[in-house]
Subunit: 163 residues, 2 copies
């Protein structure tokens, strides 16, 4: 069975992370296992966990660092070619749904966050979207939710992908 | 071709991370690609990267968080059963050597760090070890290196596994 993958997209600072946080909390409360993939479009990101042995390995130049505990596994690796979303999805098992932050060019179903103070025009067309989460009075033929209605969005995901 | 896996083991605070750091730096200087796996025997470890979006996903309860940039991919996931060393090794590609910190019960070749101020007795038997790195005057039938001789240890690894 394929795990559904839904991309939360939108302009920078439109509120994607905040919406995702609320969606994750609600999905977990409803008993689902959730994975998330964040697309970071620039080179490099900080993983500075001061004083932790593992990141001393990374600092020393290890190309692929894994830390494994009885309840958690973390890994960070250098790549010469950025993995595609499908390649990343293939590394995930044991969850009910995968949500991404970003990946607006993927062909997966998308939820766009559109905030008036950032822009009045969506970046996606209606046929790419399953929902638009916004405070802009748009008239796209898609399900529209207010910026604080994470519960409405999660209801829609449950209906479409989790029942 | 199987990637060689060598475990750096020893009692807590014997200096495993410091030796590994030096080994990683030397191996990288010599042109090798290196992966490292740290065994963390207690439940949980901190991955608190303050203010980073990804860890907001983890904080919100995401069971498997991935962050992907053009040059780096990081992931943290919850597990109900701790993966074995071989399962972790199977997730690593594109490196010349894998060094672990810990996994003293694995059947891989081992390097033990033995520091007089922590203990005078090794935790491994001679037949498990390819080297003992120590300031204790022991007479085990294995290659013995001083605590600051990471270069000697790396020479040995090159000879045994990388030529």
């Amino acid at each position: 069975m394929t795990i559904p993958v839904i991309c939360v997209v939108g302009r920078s600072k439109s509120g994607k992370t905040t919406l995702l946080e609320k969606m994750i909390i609600l999905l977990k409360q409803r008993g689902y296992r959730v994975a998330t993939i964040k697309h970071h479009s620039h080179h490099g990101f900080d993983m500075d966990v001061p004083g932790k042995d593992t990141w001393r390995h990374a600092q020393a130049g290890s190309d692929h660092v894994i830390i494994a505990a009885p309840d958690k596994v973390a890994a960070i690796r250098n790549v010469s070619v950025e993995p595609t979303l499908d390649e990343l999805v293939a590394t995930i098992t044991d969850v009910d749904i995968i949500l991404t932050e970003g990946y607006k060019r993927s062909s997966k179903p998308k939820i766009e966050v559109l905030r008036a103070e950032r822009s009045a025009a969506p970046i996606c067309t209606a046929d790419e979207l399953i929902a638009l989460v916004t405070d802009v009075p748009v008239t796209l033929p898609v399900r529209i939710f207010t910026l604080d209605d994470a519960a409405g969005v999660v209801d829609l995901l449950e209906e479409m992908y989790l029942k």
